[in-house]
Structures are given as C-alpha cells and as structure tokens.
C-alpha cells in the first residue's frame, strides 16, 4: 500500500493523471467488464451449443 502511495505521489508531482490519462483510464475500465462479460458469455454459449448437439433429439 505504501508503494502505491509512493507511485501516486511521483505521478502527482509530475502532473499526472492529466486529462488525457483520465480519459484513457475511464475508457479502459468502461470496456473491462464488457470484455469480461463477453468472454464468459462466448464460452458459455459454446458449451451450450456443444451440449445441445450432444443431447439426442426427441423422436
């Protein structure tokens, strides 16, 4: 935690995060959960697809 504080203090003394960095970070963390949800959904749908193919159809 002290290291994080130190890193933040170096950045702050150097004028960061500036507007550009804030915008990049905001975009990054906005896309992060979307990316993770897409990842999980894609794999789950693949499993469902395989399971549906493997299940004998009635009749």
């Amino acid at each position: 935690m002290n290291s994080l504080k130190l890193a933040y203090s170096v950045l702050k003394r150097c004028g960061l995060p500036d507007a550009r960095m804030k915008l990049l970070l905001a975009t990054y963390y906005l896309l992060t959960p979307v990316g993770a949800a897409l990842d999980g959904l894609a794999w789950l749908q693949l499993v469902r697809l395989v399971a549906a193919e493997a299940t004998p159809r009635p009749g």
């Binding site: 290291s3 994080l4 130190l6 890193a7 203090s9 170096v10 950045l11 003394r13 150097c14 004028g15 960061l16 500036d18 550009r20 960095m21 990049l24 970070l25 975009t27 990054y28 963390y29 896309l31 992060t32 959960p33 979307v34 990316g35 993770a36 949800a37 897409l38 990842d39 999980g40 959904l41 894609a42 794999w43 789950l44 749908q45 693949l46 499993v47 469902r48 697809l49 395989v50 399971a51 549906a52 493997a54």
Partner: protein, 492 residues
C-alpha cells in the same frame, strides 16, 4: 440445463457464438492498445518532469548528488515505474474479469464454484509471502542498480586520464564495483519466480481434482459450463498473479524517481529587466556542510577593471561566485544588482544573466555554431563578434569556421581554446556579468597570457570576476584583488 438465465440470449447458433468471440477479440485488442497509450503518457510526462526538476532544481541541493543516479533513474528506472503503474491498472482489470467470470460460474452451479473458490485461499497465502520477499529484493536491487549507474558515470567521465596514467584496470574495477550486488539480487528474484511458476500449476491441478470429486452428481453441461468459466477465471487469475509479480519486482524503481520528483525548484526570480551595471556582495555569510565558508564578505564587481578573488583551496572562492550569480542564497547579508537605470535589485527576487565559465568547460559534440547558440537564434555576424571579443575567432576560422565539428566535451580543442570558446558562448548569450572559475588552470604560459588579455579587455566594458589560486597569471590585467583568508571554522 445450465444457467436458465442464458435462455434470455436465445438458442446458441454457431454464427452467434462466432460473433461473440470476434467481439471479445476486438475488445481485448482495444484494451491492450489503451494500456500501451497509458504507458506512453506516463513515461513522457514523468521523464520530462523529472528532467525539469534536475535542470531547474535548487543548486545547493543538486550539487551534492551524483549525475549517474539521475541518468539511471531517467533511463533504466523510469520504464520500470511505468510498468509498475500499468501493472497496477492491469491488475484491477484482471481482478474485475476474474470476479465477473466467478459470478457467472456461481450462477451456473453455486456449489461447484464455491468449492473451487475455497481452494484459492492457501494458494493466495503462499503467493503473498513470496511477493513480500520479492518486493524486498527488488528494492535492494534498485538501490544497487542506482549505485552501478553512478559508479559507471563517475568512472567513465575520467576515462581519458585513466588511459593516460595507465590505470584502466582500477577504473574497470571501480566501474563494475556494484555489478555483483545487482546480479546477486536478480538471481534471488529468479528463485522466487521459479517457486511462483510451481504454485500456479499446483493450484490448477488441485482445482481440477476437486471439480472431478465434487461434480459427481452435476450434469455434464453444468460441469462443462463451470469448468470452462473456472478455466477462463483461472487464466485471469494467472495473469493477475504474474502482474502482481511485476508490481513487486518493479517497486524498487519508485524511490529513485521519487528522489528526483521531490527536488525543490529554485525560488522564482523575475529577470532584471535592464542591463546590469554592477553586482555587490554586502556582508555575505554562507555555511556548507557544517562549516562557515564565508563570514561577512563584501565586494563590488563593476566594469573598468577585472575583480580577482584569490585565496587558498576551500576558502570560499567558488561559493562567492555562486552567491553573485544568485545560485546560493546568503544566510546573512545580501547580494545586490544595480541596473543601468540606477535602480538596485535584490538577487533573491531578481535574476541577472550571469555567464559562468569554469575550468571544466561544458561543450557538446556538434558544430561550433551549435555550441555557441544552441537555439539557432543568432546571426553569424553576432557569433563572430563574440568569438573576436573572446579571442577565439582565429582558431575557429583555422578549423573551418562556425560549421566545424567539435568532439564531446570539446576534446578536439586544446584547454585554452575550450575556455575561449566558453567565454565566446557567454558573450553570445548577452550575459551581463562574466564569472570565471580557475580558467587559467592547466594552461601553458602563452595560452594563459592570451586568455588573460582577452579577459582584461572584456572587463573594461562589463563586470567580470575571476577566482583563482594563481594570482600571478592575471598580473598583466592589473586587477583589483580581493583575498579570502580561508581557514573556515565550524558554523555556529
């Protein structure tokens, strides 16, 4: 049936699944691009800001530090600091990904997912202990790395003298003194990486065994669903573990950059706003390293005659120049600049254009023109005029003029030529006051006489102060002499 909530997305078809994977790939690429951009923003800004600190920092703070440490911090440590910060952002990203995938796994089959999560606790405790050790080693390695950079810079700066005196072996030894320490730490960090590499597959193996044991009554589909989500979450956790490792291994680079970032800036001083006519020291007191170097010195530098400051080594000659230039602030007394209008300004609030020429002249590799006028703002005529006044025009012309090339530190010139060129540079910058520090040191008699003649000529039209321990060299200039007694005593 896995996760009935998934029905909301409709029946899976190969086309939909394919599109989902394509969208996920595009997002992953975008995130990496953004991460790279954040890294560039940090490196650019921190490097520029720390360099500014070094250049604009207070001279009395900077002069006791090692240049090599600054170079090491700005080149080697900075990318590591950037990696530290971007790793922190990636760690948050991976944490969010792993958490979201775990929640999805819990929604598919809660019992299986909880069982897997319980296994993560002992693995995490082992990792924590290893990271703490890595962090300690990284700090110690960064300190050794800084020492190595400082040793290399100091030693290589004296390579020519070492070659001349045949002491290259001791120079190499000194330059590489800290190398063993740096690599010893690196090897220790390597051991911790080896143990880390073993922990991950162990945890993964245990998780899969547990899945096989507890998933007996689960349907094949939910087993497959949880398995694939657990695998994806574990991939994120693996990446998170690697990223946290990067955090602990780069933590040592924070201190050297923090040391630069906290260098206090010189207090802001307004330019004088007019031509300087004279500079005056009134009862200046200054201590250094617990020693009283100057104790009430008073003198005036003005055009007409060269002011020569003499005295034994350590008597405060260079300190006196630093005070006149406004680089040091006196503990008591003051430094006063008098302008052409007759107005007097205190050096603590006003900045005069003082050109400082020392025994070790700072010249760059490049042309004579670039050395005289780095910004390229002056016309050739102005540069030649400065060279004439400094008595340097003749040898510059003989070497091919303003476009002739100089070696690093001006090594392609003789000692006398280097100092004349430095005086010419000072004049080209339209300095108001010329301060010369032991400029005749190491010169032959002819070079000394020529340099002193040029200085005496300049002293008729502008304030010039020269400090020297060799007063005889300046006798032909008929200077006013100010003698410092020396024998500094402890500061009260």
């Amino acid at each position: 049936m896995i996760g009935p909530w998934l029905d909301a997305f409709g029946p899976p078809t190969p086309g939909v699944v394919g599109l989902l994977f394509l969208a996920k790939a595009a997002l992953a690429a975008a995130l990496i691009l953004i991460e790279t951009a954040i890294g560039i923003v940090i490196r650019r800004r921190v490097q520029a800001a720390c360099l500014e600190r070094v250049v604009l920092g207070r001279w009395d703070v900077l002069r006791g530090q090692q240049v090599g440490r600054w170079i090491g911090a700005l080149t080697e440590e900075l990318p590591l600091l950037t990696r530290y910060v971007t790793s922190f952002f990636s760690a948050l990203y991976l944490l969010i990904s792993a958490a979201l995938l775990s929640v999805m796994a819990a929604a598919v089959a809660p019992t299986l997912a909880m069982g897997l999560a319980a296994l993560a606790v002992p693995a995490w405790l082992a990792l924590k202990a290893l990271y703490s050790l890595q962090s300690r080693l990284a700090r110690s390695q960064a300190s050794a790395r800084q020492g190595l950079a400082a040793d290399l810079t100091e030693s290589l700066a004296g390579i020519f003298q070492a070659k001349a005196s045949g002491e290259t072996a001791s120079l190499l030894r000194r330059a590489l003194r800290r190398q063993a320490e740096v690599f010893q730490r690196e090897l220790q960090i390597g051991w911790t990486l080896g143990v880390l590499a073993a922990i991950n597959p162990l945890a993964m193996g245990a998780a899969l065994l547990a899945l096989a044991a507890w998933g007996g009554d689960a349907s094949a589909a939910s087993f497959g669903g949880v398995g694939v989500l657990a695998f994806r979450a574990a991939t994120s956790v693996n990446a998170l573990v690697a990223t946290l490792g990067t955090l602990t291994r780069t933590v040592g680079s924070l201190k050297p950059l923090d040391d630069l970032a906290i260098i206090p800036e010189e207090p802001p001083r307004e330019p004088l706003g007019e031509r300087l006519v004279s500079a005056r020291l009134e009862g200046a007191v200054y201590s250094q390293g617990g020693r009283r170097v100057l104790d009430g010195a008073s003198l005036v530098v003005e055009p007409g005659r060269l002011l020569l400051v003499t005295g034994p080594s350590g008597s405060g000659k260079t300190t006196l120049i630093n005070l006149l230039a406004g680089l040091f602030a006196p503990e008591a007394g003051r430094v006063v600049y008098r302008g052409a209008s007759g107005a007097e300004h205190d050096a603590s609030s006003r900045r005069a254009r003082v050109a400082y020429v020392a025994q070790d002249v700072h010249l760059f590799s490049g042309t004579v023109r670039e050395n005289l006028d780095p910004d390229g703002a002056l016309a050739d005529e102005a540069l030649w005029r400065s060279l004439e006044r400094a008595g340097a025009a003749e040898f510059v012309r003989a070497r091919g003029g303003l476009t002739s090339a100089l070696a690093e530190f001006g090594r392609s010139l003789s000692g006398g030529e280097r100092r004349r060129l430095a005086v010419a540079r000072a004049l080209a910058s339209e300095a108001d006051l010329l301060a010369l520090d032991e400029v005749t040191n190491g010169l032959d008699d002819a070079s000394k006489a020529a340099l002193v003649a040029s200085i005496a000529e300049l002293a008729r039209e502008m304030p010039v102060v020269a400090v020297t321990h060799d007063a005889a060299a300046f006798a032909s200039a008929s200077p006013r002499v100010f003698t410092l007694a020396g024998g500094a005593r402890p500061a009260p």
